[in-house]
């Protein structure tokens, strides 16, 4: 196989096709639309299902139906569209059928804008819809990773009969870079034994998220929780760079992590002992690795394209052992490597000492000054 220049949304879509997705249901929304456009020609040419639904609400319920029918199925959308899907996602979680969602995130809240953002971290990682459930959340940082982790997303969805969210920001959906596609997987000929296929020669199967007796629902919630614990044990993925002797550790996911790496490389050239941890699964979160790094490092800098949503999880892992600082850009603004480099320099020159510092409040002051300066 050779690398080809691929657009993020197209690569994500083709990876889903190669993973054996037999039903795509979606609704156009920037910056995810090319995904749907790609599927509109690719799925029919393979004899697979494609429907441009009347809304995101309908799209996710089509996914729900196809998932109950035992086929690999998915949708792709962007932040406001994903909000509309929350009802269906909760039902899918409650019915314990596998499905994949790609969220190409944009600036919000509300209509927001169409620029890249990581503002859906909480909605994606903490469930989003009603009830107790725990989708797996994977955050690629390149077109290649988008391909690889979309393939994995379908496998994990089947393995645990769960929702898997692949979340990227608009940068990754829109950009083109060289990447390699894996070969096409074969579609299984037999349906899973839990799927509705018509009760031929067997008792009927009913798939539902309703457990009218609270004791039955409690057992269901417990089963979902046990699944979560199992996933936490088995499926944590992260990457780290320059961590051997790092005294300052940057933590960022997706694009923020990737841009941070450029800054870390530059700082290393200046002789600053800085490293990077880039969580790839946001649920399950690499709590253990972060806690371990807090034993080694003098301070952390969390970089995100939101107001510090992952920061809260980092602080849980750090347990106040070392100072954790934050740097974020908001509302669809992507930080430049220079901005992160100057944060590294600032920390290197004036290392924070107070493990109880208010990372968000301190950063707000710096950001406001920067915004003022740029105007």
């Amino acid at each position: 196989m050779t690398k080809k220049l691929l657009k993020g949304n197209h690569a994500l879509a083709e990876a889903a096709v190669r993973a054996g997705c037999e039903g795509f249901f979606g609704y156009p929304i920037t910056p995810s639309t090319e995904f749907l456009e790609y599927m509109s020609s690719r799925m029919p040419e393979l004899g697979r299902a494609f429907v441009q639904a009347e809304s995101e609400v309908a799209a996710i319920n089509m996914v729900y139906g196809a998932a109950c029918a035992g086929k690999r199925t998915m949708t792709a959308s962007s932040s406001p569209g994903v909000s509309l899907m929350m009802e269906g996602l909760s039902y899918i979680a409650g019915t314990e059928v596998p499905a994949v969602l790609v969220n190409v995130m944009r600036g919000g809240p509300g209509l927001g804008n169409i620029a890249p953002s990581q503002g859906d971290y909480n909605q994606m990682v903490k469930g989003g819809g009603h009830g107790d459930y725990f989708p797996i959340v994977i955050a690629p940082a390149s077109v290649q990773e988008s391909i690889d982790y979309t393939m994995l997303a379908f496998d994990l969805a089947d393995k645990y009969r769960t929702l898997v969210y692949v979340i990227v920001d608009g940068n990754i959906g829109q950009m083109m870079e060289p990447a390699e596609m894996p070969p096409m997987r074969e579609i299984p000929t037999e349906a899973p034994d839990w799927a509705v296929t018509g009760a031929e020669g067997r008792d009927p199967i009913a798939l539902s998220s309703i457990y009218i007796d609270p004791y039955d629902e409690e057992v269901t919630n417990l089963r979902l929780l046990k699944k979560k614990l199992e996933i936490e044990k088995n499926e944590v993925i992260f990457k780290e760079f320059f961590m051997e002797d790092a005294e300052i550790v940057i933590i960022g996911f997706g694009t923020a992590g990737r841009i941070s790496l450029s800054a870390v490389r530059e700082a290393r050239e200046q002789g600053i002992k800085v490293g990077l941890i880039r969580p790839i699964t946001l649920f399950p979160f690499p709590f253990e690795r972060i806690a371990e790094a807090a034993e080694q490092a003098k301070s952390f800098l969390v970089v995100e394209m939101n107001t510090g949503m992952m920061l809260d999880d980092i602080q849980v892992a750090v347990k106040g052992k070392i100072p954790v600082e934050f740097y974020g850009r908001l509302g669809g603004v992507t930080p430049f490597p220079d901005e992160i480099l100057s944060e590294i320099n600032r920390i290197n020159e004036n290392p924070p000492t107070d493990p109880n510092l208010d990372a968000r409040a301190d950063w707000v002051k710096r950001l406001e000054k920067a915004i003022e300066g740029s105007n």
Binding site: F25, G65, E87, G198, A199
Partner: protein, 259 residues
């Protein structure tokens, strides 16, 4: 000379398509009748083992406990979308939704209109009893003008709450529809006609001819606060004038069918 036999001949039996459990429906409710008609039709057409039903939210939320086929349970109003997902990845199966008036004509208006618009090859059994049953008798999009419900206590005031929505008439305007009819379950003759309509709706799907829907005028004695007998009278006297029975769209190929 003809031989006389004393062997009993079975003329009536429980359809295989119905499970042997007690239902939770109220006395006098016609859900039981429509369930039975669906079961009989699927038995007669030999489709039971190919069928996947989609249950709604409403009184018939547990339809899957009574109908002896594979079933899924949709979110409120989303049954046509869920059915679309199933049918598109399993076109070899027979897929139908069972929906009430709140589910289909209110919260699920977008899903039903677009399923019909796409000519989705599914069948819809639409139970119209002019009220929200499960939540305890609130006004539905099909509640009659002047009809008292817990959320229109002085009777539906069309100045405030608008008019009943006539779904069959609307859906018949969609090019993707092949079979759209309204029947009633209020007496035996009408029940027989309802069964024939259900048969034709599934025949439409078997032939791959697109969207089919049978609207069935039904009763809700509990929330109408009348006796079962009075409820049947109410269908005849008050509902049929607002929701006239009839064929709103029948594809010529289906019209030719003798069932």
């Amino acid at each position: 000379m003809a031989t006389l036999t004393t062997d009993p001949i079975q003329v009536y039996k429980r359809p295989v398509g119905l499970t042997e459990v007690h239902s939770h429906y109220c006395p006098g409710c016609t859900h039981g009748i429509s369930h039975r008609l669906i079961a009989e039709v699927l038995d007669e057409m030999g489709l039971r083992e190919k069928t996947i039903g989609v249950a709604p939210v409403g009184c018939s939320v547990f339809a899957y406990k009574y109908l002896n086929t594979d079933y899924v349970e949709a979110a409120h109003g989303r049954a046509p979308a869920m059915a679309t997902g199933i049918k598109r990845v399993r076109p070899e199966n027979i897929v139908y939704t069972y929906q009430g008036d709140g589910d289909l004509a209110s919260i699920g208006m977008a899903e039903i209109m677009h399923a019909a618009g796409r000519g989705e090859n599914i069948t819809v059994i639409f139970i119209n009893n002019a009220i929200y049953g499960m939540t305890g008798g609130q006004m539905a999009p099909t509640t009659l003008p002047g009809m008292k419900t817990t959320s229109s206590p002085k009777g539906r005031d069309v100045e405030m709450a608008g008019f009943p929505i006539k779904m069959s008439e609307i859906l018949a305007t969609m090019q993707g529809s092949s079979y759209i009819v309204r029947r009633s379950l209020h007496d035996p003759a009408y029940i027989r006609k309802s069964k024939k309509a259900i048969r034709k709706a599934f025949e439409t799907q078997v032939r791959g001819m697109g969207f089919s829907l049978v609207e069935l005028l039904s009763t809700c004695p509990t929330n109408w606060k009348v006796t079962p007998y009075e409820a049947l009278q109410f269908v005849e006297d008050s509902m049929i004038p607002v929701f006239p029975l009839g064929d709103f769209k029948v594809h010529p190929e289906i019209a030719k069918l003798k069932v």
